[in-house]
């Protein structure tokens, strides 16, 4: 009872945060015919959802955050939001659709470095497990035949089953590796068009002839003095100022 009383203020605080963000989002939707009026409301909602995402990694919050960010005109934050959600809910169809849409927008703006979708996005955990169960069923059936009626094809059934199980194990290993890479080298998105430099300072020469376009995705390798060393999908490694990046949370 006492514990519940203690938790009550926290509960009210979270509810008020939810309500204010949702209210801002709905205000933006009402004003959608006028972007100048609607965008600040969406930006306010996006800020609230982003804060809430820090506390609770709920699928819907990531979705709301990504959508609100996009509608606020902040494409890099929208990409980061959808990616944050997909890190926890890798095959969620709505998050994936949002990310694909934002990436298409970023590509049309000139963003060249768009990473391919990983295996976690292509195969849902359910699909992977269903495949494993099927493979196990094949193996078990072959085993049953081998030790009872000794059908000629029982070995073939067992072989197919083992092959399926090995495939599933490899698939699973690759998925685990993707998670490990995400944790070791957090993804980030370029906030504004900015030059990718050879070192961590304005005095270093740009690595690429053109500015790195807004919405370009990269991976963080290191940090030093307010600068982040990033690697692009194409392999180039350079430095960008911290404030020019939106990090995946």
């Amino acid at each position: 009872m006492n514990l519940q009383l203690l938790l009550l203020p926290a509960l009210f605080a979270s509810v008020s945060l939810d309500n204010s963000s949702d209210a801002a989002f709905h205000r933006g939707v009402r004003e959608r015919a006028n972007a100048a009026e609607a965008r600040p409301a969406f930006a306010e909602a996006a800020k609230g959802y982003r804060e809430y995402w820090h506390h609770k990694h709920q699928r819907g919050i990531a979705l709301a955050w990504g959508r609100a960010s996009y509608l606020a005109g902040d494409l890099p934050s929208a990409i980061a939001a959808f990616r944050s959600g997909l890190h926890y809910y890798p095959a969620d169809a709505e998050l994936l659709a949002g990310l694909r849409f934002c990436r298409a927008e970023a590509t049309s703006l000139g963003a060249a470095s768009v990473p391919p979708e990983g295996l976690r996005q292509r195969f849902t955990p359910g699909q992977r497990l269903a495949f494993a169960v099927l493979a196990m069923t094949f193996f078990a059936f072959g085993l049953l035949c081998q030790f009872t009626v000794r059908w000629r094809s029982s070995v073939a059934w067992m072989f197919i089953g083992i092959l399926g199980l090995v495939t599933t194990a490899v698939l699973e290993w690759q998925c685990q590796r993707e998670i490990a890479v995400d944790l070791a080298q957090p993804p980030c998105v370029v906030r504004f068009d900015t030059p990718l430099r050879t070192g961590n300072g304005e005095s270093y020469a740009p690595l690429l002839p053109a500015l790195l376009p807004r919405g370009t995705e990269a991976r963080e390798l290191a940090r030093r003095g307010g600068w982040v060393q990033v690697q692009l999908e194409s392999g180039e490694i350079g430095w960008l100022p911290e404030e020019m990046l939106v990090m995946q949370i």
Binding site: Q58, G60, R67, H87, E94, A97, F101, R150, E172
Partner: protein
């Protein structure tokens, strides 16, 4: 002229060198004078003093708007030599204006105009800084020859920009982006789901086929006590093949051929050219029971083959004999 007169003229010329040679160009001035502060080369000739004034394209301008300011210098004896004051170097101007560009001068032999395009920085009323412009008056005594030009004070009003009526632009996005998911009903994830493998139901689903298979094997063995031996028999390819051939045999000849093949492959008894009795004897020599039944099967086959009759092919007897022989030989 007398000597005294000449001497007086010489003294006057030495005291006032300007009278000796009229100065009409800045080039005639000593180098130190040419670089004097706020002196842009204007020399006063025989006529009136040099006049300097500002002209503005408008007394009022919107913030962010542009203004053309003209510095007009008249009565200079050397208009072609006048230099353009650089407003970008003047702090009092830099505070008030962005100097966008210096416009080209307009050629006029009597008055020189230097034009500047400016953009006011702040709103309000601006008193234009007086132009600090020195000119040289050779007729005046030494020390007073550089005179500062006077110019009337000018005021500029910088107004707030008129609100521009921009047509409302709707936000373009897919329809679902304008819908909020009912996220407050969802449970939250504290860590990225590596997979669903930790889910008990999924583990059960994975293990179910295996457990079912083990259960199936156990029950098969339970309901077939001799299943071990049977499985052992079936494992031998010769026995399997023979049973298959006996199953497929449609006549007595095929049946006999299947038994002959079995005896050759499994027991290495050469059956070629031997009668059924000789084969049975050879089988009996191996100390395995079943020679008599073998001979009976052969005899039945021969009877059916040569004598006809209504008797059926002894297929089942042959299969039973093979299984019996194999069981016996274990």
């Amino acid at each position: 002229m007398s000597k005294i007169g000449k001497a007086l003229i010489t003294i006057v010329l030495m005291a006032f060198p300007a009278f000796a040679q009229p100065i009409t160009s800045a080039e005639q001035l000593p180098a130190l004078d040419r670089t004097k502060e706020d002196f842009y080369g204007a020399i006063v000739g025989a006529g009136p003093r040099v006049q300097v004034e500002w002209l503005m394209s408008s007394n009022s301008v919107e913030r962010g708007g542009e203004l053309i300011l003209t510095l007009v210098v008249t009565n200079a004896a050397n208009p072609s030599e006048l230099q353009r004051p650089n407003l970008k170097d003047r702090p009092e101007f830099r505070e008030l204006f962005d100097v966008i560009e210096n416009l080209p001068e307009q050629p006029d032999p009597k008055r020189v105009e230097f034009r500047y395009k400016l953009r006011p920085r702040n709103e309000g009323t601006i008193v234009l800084p007086l132009p600090r412009y020195r000119y040289y008056v050779p007729q005046l005594p030494e020390g007073r020859r550089f005179q500062l030009a006077n110019a009337p004070e000018l005021k500029l009003t910088v107004t707030k920009p008129a609100p521009t009526s921009i047509a409302a632009v709707p936000i373009s996005a897919p329809g679902e982006f304008f819908r909020l998911p009912a996220w407050w009903h969802e449970s939250s994830a504290n860590s990225p789901p590596s997979s669903e493998w930790r889910n008990t139901w999924w583990i059960a689903a994975m293990l179910f086929p295996l457990l079912a298979s083990i259960l199936g094997i156990a029950s098969y063995r339970y309901f077939n006590p001799d299943a071990v031996k049977r499985a052992e028999l079936l494992r031998r390819s010769e026995v399997r093949k023979t049973l298959q051939r006996l199953n497929d045999a449609n006549d007595t000849e095929a049946l006999a051929t299947a038994i002959h093949s079995y005896l050759q492959d499994r027991w290495h008894i050469p059956t070629l050219g031997l009668s059924s009795r000789e084969i049975a004897d050879a089988f009996a020599d191996m100390n395995i029971e079943g020679a008599r039944e073998l001979q009976q099967i052969f005899e039945r086959c021969e009877r059916l083959r040569f004598g006809g009759g209504n008797d059926s092919i002894p297929r089942e007897d042959a299969k039973a004999w093979v299984l019996a022989v194999e069981t016996e030989s274990q």
